[in-house]
């Protein structure tokens, strides 16, 4: 990792070729050392370098939410994040929700309410939904609708997604 104090200001140097960074990402409680191209996004680091393919690449421009993961407990879109920026932060992916194989209540509610069709957006929906409840924003239909609007479902499973979230919010 380049740190500023060791870095002299540039003087007419030529544009960089591929530039590597050497970073440690902490994902689901495990630290992983990665030597990667500086351009690698957090999403690509998770999927292509760590084999965690739960977070999905939908639009790759921050619009669809399929790549939603948590950083220090807060939901972000991992496609608009450079992996290097997230060194030493706590990254949580959908894979962490059922460590012993037993479904997380939100996953269970999604299955019970048939809250998906093709399923591609589902990991992002679930991470957002878990976060939504932690934020205290699942108190009404309107609130769920507004604060889940960063997760697009092209199959249109929204009514069932909201029903699943309402269930979990109500302790079901």
């Amino acid at each position: 990792m380049k740190h500023m104090e060791t870095e002299a200001p540039p003087t007419g140097q030529s544009p960089p070729d591929v530039s590597q960074v050497d970073i440690t990402l902490t994902v689901n409680g495990t630290a992983h050392r990665l030597e990667i191209d500086s351009r690698v996004t957090l999403l690509d680091a998770l999927r292509d370098h760590l084999g965690l393919t739960g977070a999905k690449k939908g639009c790759d421009q921050g619009a669809c939410g399929a790549c939603t993961v948590l950083v220090d407990g807060k939901r972000v879109v991992s496609c608009l994040a450079l992996a290097a920026q997230y060194e030493d932060r706590e990254i949580t992916t959908v894979e962490s929700l059922c460590p012993s194989g037993e479904l997380h209540p939100m996953q269970e509610a999604f299955a019970r309410h048939d809250a998906f069709q093709c399923g591609y957006c589902t990991p992002g929906q679930i991470m957002s939904a878990v976060s939504l409840i932690a934020e205290g924003r699942a108190n009404s239909e309107e609130e769920i609708r507004e604060f889940m609007s960063g997760n697009i479902c092209r199959c249109g499973a929204y009514p069932n997604i909201r029903a699943a979230i309402r269930d979990v919010a109500a302790g079901g």
């Binding site: 870095e7 200001p9 191209d37 608009l80 939504l132």
Partner: protein, 329 residues
């Protein structure tokens, strides 16, 4: 995406010095605009200075202002208890401005510096864009204009400034604090943005390497009421077609203090000074509200694809004034 050197800044002054000395270097904060534009090939910095670990986050209060570190996220600012209580239209604009995921990433400094959402600017396969490639023309003026500006435009650019929160902030006379290679300065937000004129690629008064370090928001009197109304094609998670940020102090049915700004219509966050002049001292009601809306849009230069925005913006402002006056009386 073009290759770049990633460097993590540990000292604000040094970060400013490095970027100031290198025309191909850029600051990187939340990244939600910058990384998007780098993927699209619109931006291609050779060196990214990650400033997210600099001590520029956090909110402090005095009796008269809220001081917001530039790295404070949109979500953090929206959650601030003073903003919630005293500046509700700032909070509303923040919450309506992006998804929760983006609000958790995007910083207030980056929000103020966000680039145009113009689809022609964002597509390097389109040759004509004076903002991206000065002197090449403007594809939007003869293109699809629905999401473009009608106020502050020029024959060279009609790109909208799409920030929601900048609307109440210009209404409030917020000030940005900036650090450059030659020291610090403070710039009122109403003088920060530059309309396109014949240099659309110059969007604000910052020099290359100058860094926004904080935003200072003056508080309104405790009797003020405010509201931000956003009108859009979808009910959530969409840019504004038109929006209005209004704050009023009303006594005995008359408007004592007034702040009005418009979004979705300006090449810069649009302070509606003429509307304020109409409203100041006037009786709060349908007549003065409509007159203010007429005054606010008097200079509009709509194109066929944006003609609808003139009346929509007037009605948006009238509705917002009615809402605030209703809450204030």
């Amino acid at each position: 995406m073009r290759p770049f050197d990633y460097v993590r800044a540990t000292d604000t002054e040094q970060a400013v010095a490095v970027v100031s000395a290198d025309p191909h270097a850029s600051f990187l904060a939340g990244g939600t605009t910058q990384l998007d534009l780098m993927k699209d090939g619109v931006l291609g910095p050779e060196r990214l200075i990650d400033i997210t670990r600099l001590p520029l986050a956090g909110i402090t209060h005095t009796d008269t202002t809220v001081r917001v570190g530039a790295l404070t996220t949109m979500e953090e600012l929206a959650a601030d208890p003073v903003v919630r209580e005293r500046l509700p239209f700032v909070r509303e604009a923040l919450l309506l401005g992006a998804s929760t995921q983006l609000r958790n990433m995007a910083t207030i400094g980056g929000n103020l510096l966000q680039r145009a959402r113009c689809r022609y600017f964002r597509d390097p396969t389109v040759a004509a864009c004076n903002k991206r490639n000065p002197g090449s023309g403007c594809a939007a003026i003869t293109g699809i204009q629905r999401m473009h500006a009608i106020l502050g435009t020029s024959d060279h650019c009609i790109a909208l400034h799409a920030s929601d929160v900048a609307v109440p902030l210009v209404a409030l006379d917020a000030v940005v604090h900036v650090r450059g290679a030659n020291g610090t300065r403070s710039i009122p937000l109403t003088q920060f943005y530059l309309p396109p004129g014949d240099t659309p690629h110059i969007e604000n008064v910052l020099q290359h390497g100058e860094l926004i370090t904080a935003l200072e928001i003056p508080l309104l009197p405790e009797t003020a009421r405010s509201h931000y109304l956003k009108v859009r094609d979808r009910v959530s998670y969409e840019f504004a077609l038109t929006s209005a940020g209004v704050a009023l102090v009303i006594e005995d049915g008359h408007i004592q203090e007034v702040r009005v700004a418009l979004g979705g219509v300006g090449t810069v966050p649009w302070r509606a000074w003429d509307a304020e002049d109409v409203l100041r001292g006037a009786r709060a009601g349908a007549d003065s509200f409509r007159a203010a809306a007429e005054a606010a849009l008097e200079g509009a230069r709509p194109l066929p694809g944006t003609a609808f925005k003139v009346e929509l913006a007037k009605r948006t402002l009238v509705r917002t004034l009615e809402t605030v006056a209703g809450a204030a009386s």
